[in-house]
Amino acid sequence: MKHIQTVSKPCLNQSLAHGGCGECQSSCQSACKTSCTVANQSCANKENQILAGRDGKVNHSFGK
């Protein structure tokens, strides 16, 4: 497309089929202890990580 670039594809719906195992980290523990953001967390389930294509996560690994 000329006028629009896809930064990331739809992903929310897919996780419904695989999600909810509950083994992931509780969000407040990870860094801040005063606020909560979950979107930057990773899924603890390896299978889901592959399904969700986590290898491409630019923001975590770029330039490193």
Binding site: E23, T34, H60
Partner: protein, 457 residues
């Protein structure tokens, strides 16, 4: 729902229902804005005065195609999704020391006392009971988190060691894995402690606010001196010993340093790679509060930091800023996104006296005690109330574009400012939304850089 925004010079759209993120040129941005306001708008007519008509038509065709592909304007009603009410607790904040060796002015824990007017230390026995309690309430969850917190936990280092050793015994007996973490101001950190923490802790959070003068102003010792020089070299050594992994430097910015980007960059310049600097949460009347009138300045500072962040990372000075991290390719599952921090439900705090609270910030608040690990009591009604308080059940959040990223904000702040865990604190929302916009723009810009670099190869 579609959220259109501009951040770091990028025009972007988030499709809330699908999680798709798009980067738009000016025509597409203006066209989509018209379509968001009115799906039947005659975009061609409306924009042909500003742009070439053929270009506008081409753009609208692209937008329509994205809608058909399920990238835009998708169904965002997930109200049928229920996060299971299992009653399981999997994470605990253990207050090992209700005392501190610093007198930070913004401390929510009242330098360890938690408004309970006593400076007590956790005993190894109560610590062991807390772990027993956690195992007993963890159902079939394997991974259990325990964060040693205070006050200053290293003031009670011996007990931390005993509790960890006990946890390792329990792992074998019950088939669990304890992920221990510690949050410390690093004042007492010595080589023995460093080695222990590096061997046993999954994550370590060290509190540093940034530049010396900024840090010292808010984080003095009991005799009123600054603490920056006491900790900075220790923190550096510790992080190097740890191989730059699984830690965060965690600072607070206040109304005194609205140029907090310089504090982040100061720490990056010192060679730290995992950084989190967060806004102070306090009464507007407080002299160091971040006021509503400060918000434009804070937004600008996040933008400026965003640009610097990209530059640093591109030029070989990689670091990670917690609030600019967003995983758009997958990230946590939807159920996790609905439940957020899990306070009071999957996550509790336990005081040195063995009392259970929904999280560390609720400790000492009236009516919030949930039970005790000493007698095993646990108020399932409070737990259920927290479990029910998911992002889609909150009026404000259910209408908010950020809901699947923010997950409903901090229940403790909602309770403190609005007297209701279901009513998020507005200042927090506005900052969260701005950071998310920046994070998505950064993601898009770095992705472009990466694609350009690949194309060059």
């Amino acid at each position: 729902m579609i959220h259109l925004f501009e951040a770091l010079g990028k025009r972007m759209a988030l499709d809330v229902g699908s999680g798709a993120v798009l980067s738009l040129d000016p025509i597409a941005y203006d066209a989509l804005r018209l379509l968001v306001e009115d799906a039947d708008a005659n975009v061609e007519d409306a924009l042909s005065a500003t742009y070439d008509r053929a270009e506008v038509e081409e753009t609208v065709a692209e937008l329509r195609q994205l809608m058909e592909m399920g990238y835009l304007n998708t169904n965002d009603d997930y109200s049928h999704v229920e996060a299971a009410d299992t009653g399981v607790v999997k994470a605990m904040c253990l207050l090992v020391a209700h005392d501190c060796n610093l007198r930070c002015k913004y401390c929510f824990a009242d330098t360890g006392e938690y408004h309970m007017k006593s400076r007590t230390m956790l005993s190894a026995e109560t610590g062991r009971k807390a772990l027993d309690w956690l195992v007993a309430h963890s159902g079939n969850r394997t991974n259990l988190e325990v964060d040693f917190f205070g006050g200053e936990p290293l003031m009670n280092f011996g007990v931390i060691k005993e509790v960890v050793a006990y946890g390792r015994e329990l792992e074998k007996k019950h088939g669990k894995v304890f992920k221990f973490t510690t949050t410390t101001n690093a004042v007492l950190l010595n080589d023995e402690m460093m080695d222990f923490l590096n061997a046993e802790m999954d994550n370590v959070v060290i509190s540093i606010d940034g530049r010396r003068e900024v840090h010292d102003r808010m984080r003095p010792t009991p005799n009123g001196k600054g603490s920056y020089d006491l900790i900075i070299d220790k923190a550096k050594r510790f992080v190097e010993k740890r191989g730059q992994q699984r830690y965060y430097l965690r600072g607070t910015f206040t109304g005194y340093n609205l140029d907090f980007g310089n504090d982040v960059l100061h720490l990056a310049d010192m060679g730290f790679e995992q950084l989190s600097i967060e806004p102070v949460v306090t009464d507007e009347k407080c002299p160091y509060a971040i006021k509503e009138s400060d918000l434009p300045t804070v937004y600008d500072e996040y933008e400026r930091l965003g640009h610097e962040y990209i530059r640093y990372r591109r030029d070989g000075k990689w670091f990670n800023f917690f609030h600019f991290m967003v995983d758009l390719t997958g990230g946590p599952c939807l159920k996790k996104r609905l439940t957020g921090c899990g306070s009071g439900n999957e996550y509790v705090a336990v005081t040195a006296d063995g009392d259970i609270y929904p999280c560390h910030q609720f400790v000492g608040r009236e009516g919030m005690q949930m039970g005790s690990v000493l007698d095993g009591s646990f108020d399932r009604d409070i737990q259920h109330a927290f479990q029910q308080n998911n992002v889609l059940k909150k009026d404000k959040c259910s209408q908010c574009w950020a809901r699947f990223y923010c997950s409903g904000g901090c229940a403790a702040n909602a309770h403190a400012f609005n007297g209701d865990i279901g009513k998020p604190y507005e200042m927090e929302c506005r900052l969260e939304q701005k950071r998310l916009e920046c994070a998505m723009a950064i993601y898009a810009i770095e992705q472009e850089q990466q694609q350009a670099a690949q194309a060059d190869e």
